[in-house]
């Protein structure tokens, strides 16, 4: 996360750290069910074998020394069938849900977050010198309607309907490398709903280049179906 601030420990209890089997963090993810994590497909390019990865839950630091840590191997990887940058990870066993490990809510099918809604991203990714390396950072910024985001000066038509943009037009704060797969959550009706999966951007925190996130509401049917059938 570039800009933003270090989060309060365990205040984003659905944030997971996706790691190589030898423990190196490389992507984020979102717990959406005791046994299922939402992440980005591009985080899974290095191997198609579940055994190549592990998931840490309940941690605040990248070192993951917290006693609340739950470490899980993967049982299954399910990538979105049409090539969208969103994937599901089935954990080897259900996570223990407690005050430090808790799922985020899923949105309604096809719900479009209104333009200007303030949402939040979190992650252990690049900070580009803005501090907080090694601890879970957070930042907040508004959702930008695809129509605006696709203007020539912004992302010039690169954003698809199943993606969404969020960020400050003037730059300065954004998600970045290492935050991929993590959650973009928006607060509504007294709960946080995961509306986006951190996907791509043109650099990080550049002016007029907001971050792009897989639009979760477009995949709710696929998520429900996958969880039910697996």
């Amino acid at each position: 996360i570039v800009g933003g601030c270090v989060s309060k420990p365990h205040s984003w209890p659905w944030q997971i750290s996706l790691r190589t089997s030898n423990g190196i963090h490389f992507c984020g993810g979102t717990l959406i069910h005791p046994q299922w994590v939402l992440t980005a497909t591009h985080c899974l390019e290095r191997s198609s074998r579940p055994s190549a990865y592990k998931v840490l839950l309940g941690v605040h630091t990248e070192l993951a020394t917290e006693p609340s840590k739950q470490e899980m191997r993967l049982e299954k990887i399910v990538k979105e069938p049409n090539g969208a940058d969103i994937a599901l990870l089935k954990l080897e066993r259900p996570a223990l849900i407690n005050e430090k490990v808790q799922p985020a809510c899923l949105p309604e099918k096809d719900y479009i977050v209104p333009s200007g809604t303030e949402c939040y991203v979190t992650g252990w990714g690049e900070t580009q010198g803005t501090g907080g390396d090694g601890t879970l950072k957070e930042t907040g910024f508004p959702v930008i309607e695809n129509r605006v985001c696709n203007r020539p000066a912004y992302l010039n038509g690169r954003v698809k309907d199943h993606e969404m943009c969020a960020g400050n037009i003037e730059g300065g704060t954004d998600s970045c490398q290492g935050d991929s797969g993590g959650p973009l959550v928006c607060y509504a009706q007294n709960r946080f709903v995961v509306q986006g999966v951190t996907s791509w951007g043109l650099g990080c925190a550049n002016a007029m280049k907001p971050g792009v996130y897989a639009r979760v509401s477009k995949f709710v049917d696929w998520i429900d179906r996958t969880i039910k059938t697996n």
């Binding site: 989060s7 205040s11 984003w12 809510c105 899923l106 309607e145 007294n190 709710v220």
Partner: protein, 555 residues
Amino acid sequence: SDVEGYSKTEGAWILSLNKRTYSVNTVAECATKCNTETSFTCKSFIYNEKDQECWTAAANSKTDSVFRRSSTALYEKNAYLLECVNGIGTDYRGTKSKTNSGKICQRWDSSYPHRPNFTPQSNPRADLDSNFCRNPDGDSNGPWCYTTDANTRWEHCNVPSCSEECIVCNGVNYRGKISTTENGFTCQRWDSQKPHNHGYNPSTLPQKYLEENYCRNPDGDPRPWCFTTSPSKRWEFCSIPRCSKSSPTEPPTIIPEVDCVTNQGLAYRGTIAVTETGKTCQSWSAQTPQTHNRTPQNYPCKDLDNNYCRNPDNERRPWCYTTDPATRWEYCNVTRCGNEAAPDDPVIPPDTENCYEGNGSNYRGITSETISGKKCQRWSSMTPHKHDKTQEAFPNADLRRNWCRNPDGDQAPWCYTTDPAVRWEYCNLEKCPTKPSGTTRPIQQEPSTNTQTPAERDCKTGNGETYRGPTSVTVLGVTCQAWSAQTPHQHSSFTPETHPTKGLEGNSCRNPDGDVNGPWCYTTDRNKKWDYCQISDSGLECGTPVVKPKRCFGR
């Protein structure tokens, strides 16, 4: 509004001296009382749904002060809110009180300096109110008034026409009804997601007036536009002529500030072209080194001349893009006029919990969302709601930005909302626990991934709108009256028939109206019509972290 011909504002009340009270069963009955009022010209009414009380009033929000009051809604006759004329304007009931040449109108009930032929007594149906322009004699040139200039008996008022279809500047204030794009596509309704899915939800962006399928400019584009009903054309600009310079809809000429600025410096038209750290400003019409859309073409009324510091977009102060490739933009150091304090302090407050103690008078957190998800209006702003809760009037209440506060000792922090139809609401905040809990919260092993809020059984979350548990006793221990019963309290607003999805079964406590204080019921005590119930909060659910995030600012 749920009553035809009226605009509704929730949580509002006007203090009109000329007012009558009635006991009615429905809001429609209250509207009928207003429509048939004989003792004065009824311009608005106030309805309290829970107590089924109705007040008709001779005033409205344009002429009287509006106050906050829970459980009430102000209904104003649309005809008395219009500030434009249809036809020759015999039905004009607006508040313009200056003539074409700028003369102030004489009051209709005054005989000085001109003895009028038309008086409120001789023309009781013409609404010759105060000194507002009216057309009691069907003048073909529209509303007029007697003037306070002894040398000019009367003059026309040049009230704009309601049907005028033109835009001023880039049309962000365009409220017309053109609904076809420049290439002839029909516009998609803003409240529809078909054929194009979009994020311009009229109910969450009420200040953008995304009505029907009319062309609008919610994002500061060069012109109004709309999504189209053609699946192959997502959106297109609309071709709406610019209003002529002499048009009455041209915005009032600003008084330019050249040497100093007041408030946010929106009127600054001076020639400072250096930022506060000494960087040279980039010309607004240039795209190097910074590319941007704050161009003179996109902001035609903001005088983006040369590279002078300006504030075209409601920033806190005048600013400019800089010629330093490493610094996109910076504020400028323009002197403030007189001893005026800078606008809202931008300093981020210390980390604060998302809860309040007592009645929340000391709440200093940064929540700016109401219980129903509406965005708060800035305390320093008078739109969409004019009010008197200002920093100056309540210096100790920390009325900064649009953060929830409780300046007037209400029962919880609140704010005016950015929704023109909802004056104020309590904020999306919970009371802080009085002491640390000694027991572990229940652990939910299988949290629901369902997007619908599950019906709660023995506990409630938030304001308990989805509570469907069996509790049927109020906080004072009084048994609830069945929702379908009419004794001891007669009521018609909240019955199983009127609110079939609200779970109004038996006499269990429910919250069919989204009351901020939670579920309630009509009581069996004939001296207490209704009261709240005591229902505990629930344990863990998805998306509700026990440790509240600090939700720091990004810029």
